[in-house]
Symmetry: C2
Subunit: 351 residues, 2 copies
């Protein structure tokens, strides 16, 4: 039986021939089983000399596992995604998993296609930052019993493992900070088509209501989280006859757009307008005024998401979904100023 001569990498059979042991023994060694010390040495030497590396494909075939995890991000060009992908990718790789990344491009149709693609590639699990607010598109994965972990966002109609922050509370806290600096005319720029944005607007309303302040529709500017929207909406607010004294910006990109808009206006931050936003990047602290931000523990969240995922993959129990909300921290900055109390505004409720 002549073996085709291909100059590809060594196989277990080569190790077998070199050591005189059986495939089973070598496999056992490779998977951490017990092997006689002398054989162990033998095998290690052979592996070393042959530069043997286990063929993940062959292994995948028999174990029916690919050691690949799909990651679907709503928009790969968004700052938040970049950070997430970095941490998740790193963590997965540490655990020997490869990440297959798909960009949904904020498009629900593409998102559904991506999902099917990942299922057809038989990934072991899928981590999703969804575009959709409903879970329908995940059906093929559920049929194939591929575990799903959500990040940053959940669905309205179905529950999955999820790691994120309590966006509503986080936004609430941000507005509280503005209130504590004596702001009363507070606006918000956030998304009405993304889960996080919707929640954050709710948090804004919670805080305003609790402080006994009227919620003015013109102060709630809605549009997809993006630099462009942040820029446009901030322009609108600045041009408005009753210009707010402070604005909560729905995410990092929105904040960036907002700052650009203020910078090129006749107004300045924080003298004329205070800004507070979400998430952080190196620039946040470097610019002047530095940005006041609500920050999410990205790295921790990503590690947790991977941990959840690997747990699901290992023991495919049908345990109930777990949702983990991490606490946020406040990164103080100079973009919020304290308004001198003029005695005219009185709180109708303690803040």
């Amino acid at each position: 039986m002549k073996r085709k001569v291909r100059f590809v990498s060594a196989t277990m059979r080569d190790v077998k021939n070199k050591t005189g042991l059986s495939l089973a023994t070598i496999s056992k060694y490779l998977n951490g089983g017990n092997v006689l010390p002398e054989n162990k040495i033998l095998i290690e030497k052979a592996i070393e000399e042959l530069h043997y590396e286990v063929n993940e494909i062959a292994r995948g075939l028999v174990k029916n596992k690919t050691r690949m995890v799909g990651i679907m991000v709503h928009d790969i060009e968004c700052y938040f995604s970049g950070k997430l992908l970095h941490y998740i990718g790193e963590e997965l790789r540490k655990c020997g998993y490869a990440a297959i990344i798909c960009d949904s491009y904020n498009d629900e149709k593409i998102e559904a296609e991506n999902l099917k693609f990942l299922v057809s590639r038989r990934v072991d699990g899928i981590i999703v930052i969804p575009v959709c607010m409903r879970a329908g598109f995940l059906k093929p994965a559920k049929q194939a019993k591929i575990p799903i972990v959500l990040m940053d966002r959940s669905f309205q109609d179905e529950e999955f493992d999820c790691v994120g922050i309590d966006n509503r509370v986080a936004a609430y806290r941000a507005v509280r900070i503005l209130l504590e600096h004596n702001h009363r005319d507070i606006a918000v720029i956030s998304s009405d088509v993304e889960y996080t944005g919707v929640e954050r607007i709710k948090g804004y309303e919670d805080a305003m209501r609790q402080a006994g302040l009227e919620i003015q529709e013109e102060y709630i500017k809605k549009g997809r989280h993006s630099t462009e929207v942040g820029y446009e909406k901030m322009k609108e607010l600045l041009a408005s006859p009753n210009r707010p004294t402070a604005v909560l910006l729905g995410n990092y990109d929105t904040m960036l757009g907002g700052v650009l808009a203020v910078n090129e206006s006749e107004f300045s931050c924080p003298e004329d307008i205070s800004l507070i936003g979400f998430d952080t990047l190196m620039i946040t602290g470097v610019v002047s005024p530095s940005w006041y931000m609500v920050v999410q523990p990205m790295e921790k969240m990503c590690k947790k998401a991977v941990e959840l995922m690997l747990n699901r993959i290992e023991r495919k129990g049908d345990e109930a979904p777990v949702k983990m909300y991490f606490g946020t921290t406040i990164q103080k900055g100079e973009s919020v100023r304290t308004i001198e109390s003029d005695g005219l505004h009185t709180m109708t409720a303690p803040i």
Copy 2:
């Protein structure tokens, strides 16, 4: 012979049983071979009913192909990467390939590790936006005969397939534009640790020299392409006693940082300082003043890179590397102003 009962997807054997044909025939059909029309109908019906999908893993094992392409980006958080990853990922998926993305995080050590990881995962090819300026770290891939395609950057010491732009010429053209607007005190903020930056600085020098202008070291601000560096260096330039009238910014992130710095200074763009940069994003046209930019045909470049890669994968010829440089276009903006000629400056060479 009892087959283990697993509720997983249908296999070719199921199709075989349903049709009464042999595995070989079905395989032939699946791979576009000729099959009797009646059998074709039979097979298609069976596939339809069973929801059969070929198991890419099994196929990979025998063909020694994974239909996966690794993508190594220098920094996933950089705008340029985001766009690239989007286009490349999309294109690969269209061709039935999955993209495994690794972030090198601007770290040569991580880059080398990522490469080894991809090799061990037996990807069919690797598309690299390198951090390193030398090709050493690619050795494991070469040994495994995995084709490499470079994007955006090349190496000093070795040649590979590569798609990008002629950065030197592009920067030259950008500076020419500034010269044509009668600027003479022109600075540059660009990277000295990244290939593109280095080339762009050369282009800057070319243009300055050609215009007969002295190259002042204090006008050449070097630092990794990033928002932070753009911000810091612009601050330095603005604070300098002989403040330039125009600045070329090395990439998109640098431009963003530069604009933030100008915005918060006492100076304004373009009245006091003109800016021209690289690449584009939606924001570029939306902000005011709109940004004057040199833009690369990203989508075309990505498509080409994938095309090159798939060619290499199909016929693993040892043809010589091909380098493709795309032309850039200029996107005019308001961030560059024309200086009234005061008669004091005279060109010592035609521009």
